[in-house]
Symmetry: C2
Subunit: 347 residues, 2 copies
Amino acid sequence: MDRKALDKLLPFVLKRNNVAYYEDGIVYIGDRRKYPFEKVFLRCNDVEDVARAIEDMVTQGGGPYVAAAFAMVMAAKKVEGKPVNEIFDYLRKAKIRLTNTRPTNTAMAQRLDDMLKIAETAGKEGQSIEEKLLDWIRETDDKIYTDYEYRARLGASLVNDGDGILTMCFAETAFILAMAFAMQDGKKIQVFTPETRPYLQGARLTAPSLHELDIPVQIITDNMPAYVMSQGKIQKYFTAADLITLDGHVCNKIGTFQNAIAAHHHGIPYFVFMWGADHKSPDRASIEIENRDPAEIRACRGIPTTIDEIDAYYPAFDITPPYMVSGVITVHGILSPYDLKRHFTKA
Amino acid sequence: MDRKALDKLLPFVLKRNNVAYYEDGIVYIGDRRKYPFEKVFLRCNDVEDVARAIEDMVTQGGGPYVAAAFAMVMAAKKVEGKPVNEIFDYLRKAKIRLTNTRPTNTAMAQRLDDMLKIAETAGKEGQSIEEKLLDWIRETDDKIYTDYEYRARLGASLVNDGDGILTMCFAETAFILAMAFAMQDGKKIQVFTPETRPYLQGARLTAPSLHELDIPVQIITDNMPAYVMSQGKIQKYFTAADLITLDGHVCNKIGTFQNAIAAHHHGIPYFVFMWGADHKSPDRASIEIENRDPAEIRACRGIPTTIDEIDAYYPAFDITPPYMVSGVITVHGILSPYDLKRHFTKA
């Protein structure tokens, strides 16, 4: 399926230009903080604007990479015509600033490294860095969506007619497409989406996206998955992952691990979509968990949930050990979490 | 410790008159929906007002019983001087209306039955039903608080110096007192309180109550307990229970079961405070789980968390099986969940 045909299948927030786009030196990011209540874009005039937008959760999941990639193009545009050393220095700083916005998002870090290399080659050869980076983004995007489709087909193959499906946070394109393909294949499904506090990605992104595609979905609060499982309403658990270590530990949005324990307890298999491997993350100890501002735990959509004096704790991600993972859905197939090293270690 | 001395130890929401009180035919209920942002009381002029207040979550936990007991007094006051049959008929209807507000709250149902008997005896003997019921409430209150103190001392005895404690929802007087006694005994503790969506009892009631007593507490979201456990920060898990069946199944606020699975997984003991036994609830199958309005899942403190078209599911309670319960803290001591029948079956 080509990129345009896939784009038609996707819900609003996941369509190509709704994630982020670049126009005449400006980056526009689809504001996922405001979706589904408003469909608006945040205008970013420089790399710092984009970095802050990512830090402020304007976009998340696969979004930060797209926004950051266009920020690199914007950076190249800003220093066009300057001496090559100055350009590279500027781009390197831009990359560091953008990478630092999400220490756990190693996919983004890796791709921005690739962009830096493209830029250096283009610069040395006297080509337009802006154009070369935009070409690279388009090619990479095509590759990413070919991979999404492949993994989504694998995901759909794991779904049986009548299945109840649990997910967590916003597992984005691979998951949403997998559910769409399962429905196209004539399977009846019911998705349960925990709201995913504190940012409500489940309530605000996953549920409206599935609903837009006419996929039956019910929101639950984050304390409900185990009970819904105990009622026999869930047969599969699917999530994305911010990163999966080469020894099979899954780092994803806080709550993923708690649901995995409950799934394991109820004999429900857990499948995770893997974007690729991060060679700086061989094992659990190599994962840096981001602690976010505790004030975010004391509020919901800007409304206080308690009084300011109360202390709070906000680890943004958690880690699920490989023995709780039934299958890792990759471009190499549905792998055992114990076999990732063989498939993802560069020859 | 007498009732007044205990009252001084308790935080605002749990002090005797702050739960609910009766004055000249009117019931005033401490409005826990507004706490800790406002400290206000809802004025109830008749039984229907009280019933609706309970349904609308103005009070919860032990609160509905106190409000309902005063509603029975109010009902008696309303029909004072009427023919005895008319009085009894009115009180019976009041009891049914009040009991129906919370199908899982069997403690309340049982006590309102007792009040009906007191009223009938007083009525037949020509005594003031209002006075007799108020006397009964005072005596019952003294007994309830003696029991709270006893169970809180048992709870405190289970806490070790340096323990991290997880709780869920608002485990009220027994739990709050247990933590206070543990601190008085010189034990350093750190409580973690899941916010308890959708009504945020953890964030709004438990955390401010502990904070008021200078007990260290951190709020987390409901998707975090397992991760906090995996960090080694939690040594004990304590909750209250809406009801515990005679075969040891714990019915409590949704999320209690999910935390219990995570605790079991991490080898953390789970202790539950038991108010007493409900002989209409011998086993799991006898528990009726209340499904509340799905619209409540789509909002947080009145602010929408998603769009109205999205379907939601709201089971308000869950059930934890006895093999996950390390001890049931009762007036008969810390019991095995498998030994309740022997202690609580009437001779």
